[in-house]
Symmetry: C2
Subunit: 207 residues, 2 copies
DNA sequence: CTTATTTTGTACCATACCGCATAAAATCCT
DNA sequence: AGGATTTTATGCGGTATGGTACAAAATAAG
């Protein structure tokens, strides 16, 4: 089914039955619902269609599989957020709403119930006793902080903010807003309501 | 060891070896570190000093035990927050800082590593697939929202907020700030830093 | 066609887990 | 003292879990 892309020389032995990238996405889906501890390798095996030895060969044990899933999620998520903040001609208000709308699309994606942010929703629990997950969580959070602060700084430089505004403080509020939305999505608050509080928060932030 | 308080008529059979309230607190401590799925009944048994049948007799199965722990935590937490917001003569700024300082004390309590908010840190993960936990999480979050909104409304009535401020929006930001602090505490961000972002956020909120 | 190489699929092992059955222990009541 | 009652303590049973051994399958190279 899968054609060899480009000039990739066909590897030596039996070909893989499943695409590792798709499998990782499906593993993310599995962890996303019930968390790291709450998801068994059998469930991941079912979600990916790979049996456990293949899973193990491709991604290592459960812990490293989860770390890879987390890293992959942060990448996708940050790409989406940076796209939202990228256009320098867009107003701060519009850029922030694009960011929140993009994340809401992620939080409410998938077949089952709304599952919020994968990282906030699953890594936070493990972070206390697991140094690697804690580090990955902290780094992801910090990335967003930095991007937002840069965007807020830009807004201030362009005179979009009221005098005396503190871009770093406003960036932290914008970041906090995303975190509370991530939590509330998992708590069952409807999407429309979350978008509404995002809208109000953006109003306050933009002054 | 335990004297019968007041006129409590000593119950009939063998006396309990452990105080159920203290045991529930210790069960909370156990769940707090590693979450619902990540904590075994053996660990809870060790933490409380009760063996499993006693645990089961006192609190029911693991799920109902966790629900009781969650409910107890919300109560303690909300009591602390309401105390912080209660004094009508205090400035909004001071009241909010009292609230954040009180919660930070909780988030950084205990012997081990900082563990943030019990509810945010452990219920969020389970909330997607567990209706009861989801409900308890949503109710707790909503309680804080309501209290903050009432306090912000009071501030506006007293003329503490700038004209045109939206108390509900500001309350949501204050709530979001607590949520992000809860997450960041688990992610390993030091307490001093969290207090600093709380201070800045309060500055913005109070105008 | 045979051999080398890699992946798959089945099955297994040791342990962990939750819940409970049952007996011993500690107290109250008569 | 003896029976009634409640809790504790030990331990078991059935299942789930993470990880792996091993043989069969699928492909490339010779």
């Amino acid at each position: 089914m899968v054609q060899n892309k480009d000039v990739e020389p066909r590897p030596r032995g039996r070909p893989r039955a499943y695409d590792p990238r798709a499998a990782l996405r499906q593993a993310i889906d599995a962890f996303w619902k019930t968390g790291y501890s709450g998801t068994s390798l059998d469930e991941i095996s079912a979600a990916t269609g790979m049996n456990r030895p293949s899973l193990y060969a491709a991604f290592g044990d459960k812990h490293t599989l989860y770390l890879k899933a987390l890293e992959q999620y942060w990448q996708l998520s940050l790409v989406s957020m940076r796209e939202a903040l990228a256009d320098p001609d867009e107003s701060l208000n519009a850029a922030l709403m694009r960011l929140y709308d993009g994340q809401l699309s992620i939080y409410f994606s998938g077949d089952g119930r709304p599952r919020g942010c994968f990282a906030i929703g699953t890594a936070t629990t493990e972070a206390v006793e697991d140094p690697e997950i804690r580090k990955a969580l902290a780094e992801g959070v910090h990335m967003l902080d930095s991007d937002l602060e840069a965007r807020l700084q830009m807004a201030q430089d362009k005179g979009e903010l009221k005098d005396g505004a503190d871009p770093a403080a406003l960036a932290m509020l914008a970041s906090a807003m995303l975190h509370t939305i991530a939590i509330r999505a998992r708590a069952g608050i409807p999407r429309s309501e979350l978008r509404e509080i995002a809208r109000k928060a953006v109003s306050v932030i933009c002054g």
